[in-house]
Every structure is written in C-alpha cells, then in structure tokens.
Symmetry: C2
Subunit: 174 residues, 2 copies
C-alpha cells in the first residue's frame, strides 16, 4: 500500500493507447515547429523517464538521501532511443515499463515518513520523495496537455475564426 | 466516406474512459477555482456539444446555409443537465452520443464541395462546414488539455520546486 494516489499513473498508458494508437502517421509525427516535440517524441520521453527518472530517483532518496544528487535527466534522449521505432512499439514499451515502475513502487512499501525523506536535485536543490512522486503524476499530465496541443496545432488554420475560442490553439490561458 | 479525418473524434470517448473512469471523486469533481470546470463538468459539456452543436450546426449549414444563424451554444448547460449524475454515466452517454454523431456524419456523405458550404455563426460571422468539423476536433483536444490542467492543479503545491518545470501547473507557454 503506497500512501500516495497512483491512480493517474496507472492510467496514463491506457489513455495514450486509446488516444494515439493507429492515428495517421502525420498526426503523431508532426511537432509544433523548431525543436518542439511530436506525440511520438513525447511517448519516447515518457519511456526514458520510466528508465532513468522516477523510480531510480526514489531509490537514490531512500538509499543515499541528499548526499548523492540525482543524475541530470536527458530531455533529448528519446531522439536517438526512438529512432526506427513505431509508435505502437513505443506505446507497448511505455505500458510495460510503467507497470514495472508501479510494481517497484509498491514493493518499496513506503511509509508517510519515507515520503518526507529528502534528496538533492542537481538544479532545484533539496526535494522530498513526496514531491518527486507528485511530480511524476503532474509530469504525465503535462505531457498529455502537450500532446493535445501538438495535435490541435495541426488544425490551427483549418478552424478559421473559431481559433479565438480555442485555447489549445490560441495559447491563451484562463 | 467523409473527406475529413475523424480519427481523433472517434477516439475521444475511449481516451476519456481510460483516463477518468474510476478516478477518485475529489479528483474528478475539483475545478481550478471560481467558476472554472471540473473534469466532470467538461464531460457534461462535451455531451451538450453532441446534442446541440456539431451535427445540428452541420445540418443547418447544409439545409439553410448562411440565412439561418446557428443557435448560440450554452456553455453552462451541463451544470443543470449533469446534476445528480455520476461520471461513469456521463462517460457512457458521451460515448453513445459520439458514436451516433459519427454515424450521422457518415450518412451525410459529404463531398469536398459540401465542406466549403457556409453557415452563419451568431458571433463569429460566416464559417464553412470544413471549419466547423475542424473545430469539433480541436474542441475535443482543447478540453483534453483542460482536464490535464485541472487534474494537475490538484498537485500544484505538492510538487514543490518542480513547479518551475511543469507548464501544466505554471501556465507558461512554449
């Protein structure tokens, strides 16, 4: 039993699957211009997070605390790691890795006191395990938002005057 | 055969289902403060769109063109319509209505020429059927983005210093 709500974390792979698997290639491979990411890139990034970020950092906090800063997270690792892959394979891989991560999280048998233990982020400074796990959830949601935006951008011209009402295209907040 | 990519429209109900069905009540009922919407409210809004917006407006364009302005869309209808409902029932209803909408869209047997036909938006002025259908897609994505944001907002404090990296919480663009 993890004293932390993991329901969102469990659901992200199936959500991305229902949304993206089988979408036309141009839709999943388009980005927002420049060095922004496509939906395909985002799934690769989420895979890299499972491998190197969330559970590995949780272990560093539990085993070494603030003495051992986290490794920096490579925000561009997916560009080489995903090369030659299909989105379907990335979705499969993400689903398998996320299941494994959540099994490992459960096996840690975290207590409330564990959640208050601290680690050292290389740029942000001291952070708690609770903050790391909350960030894992918010990070999933951040990238779901990003995928919605990159898919909507592809319709930015086609919506015509409705653009004014669509924050996902206009970029307006609130 | 619709000369228009409806793959996103087909997927939204299953995406919301995988994401939201069975989430804890506080998660789906929280909003972003003030008169903003919860995930529950958003699903109610999408239901209202199926009933009164997309296909009904497409029919007005095809049958009456610019002579007959669209009815105004009630952005608050879901607050009374969803009262006493559960999220699971709203998700079921949205899925059924969306399937029906897409069957009706297919039955219209739209041609490229049809997509260029014009209707009259009560505030935005002349719009084409193609713009209406593109807006339907972008509108789904707009509300997926909104749900990601409203769910992430619930972790805004808990993420601590990571807030700076999470656009879904900080509201920063780009």
């Amino acid at each position: 039993m993890v004293p932390f709500d993991i329901t969102i974390l469990e659901r992200t792979p199936a959500t991305l699957d229902a949304w993206l698997r089988g979408l036309p290639e141009p839709a999943v491979r388009s980005n927002e211009g420049g060095d922004t990411w496509s939906a395909f890139d985002v799934v690769g990034h989420l895979i890299h997070g499972e491998r190197t970020d969330w559970i590995p950092r949780a272990r560093i906090i539990l085993e070494q605390g603030e003495r051992r800063p986290f490794d920096r997270f490579d925000r561009f690792a997916q560009f080489t790691a995903s090369e030659g892959q299909t989105l379907d394979r990335l979705l499969d891989e993400f689903g398998a890795l996320r299941r494994e991560s959540l099994q490992q999280l459960a096996a840690l048998q975290l207590t409330e006191a564990d959640l208050d233990r601290r680690g050292m982020h290389p740029a942000l400074g001291p952070v708690t395990l609770r903050q790391l796990l909350s960030t894992w959830v918010a990070h999933d949601l951040d990238h779901i938002m990003q995928i919605a935006r990159v898919l909507a951008t592809q319709h930015a011209q086609a919506v015509g005057p409705w653009r004014a009402y669509l924050r996902v295209i206009s970029g307006q907040q609130g």
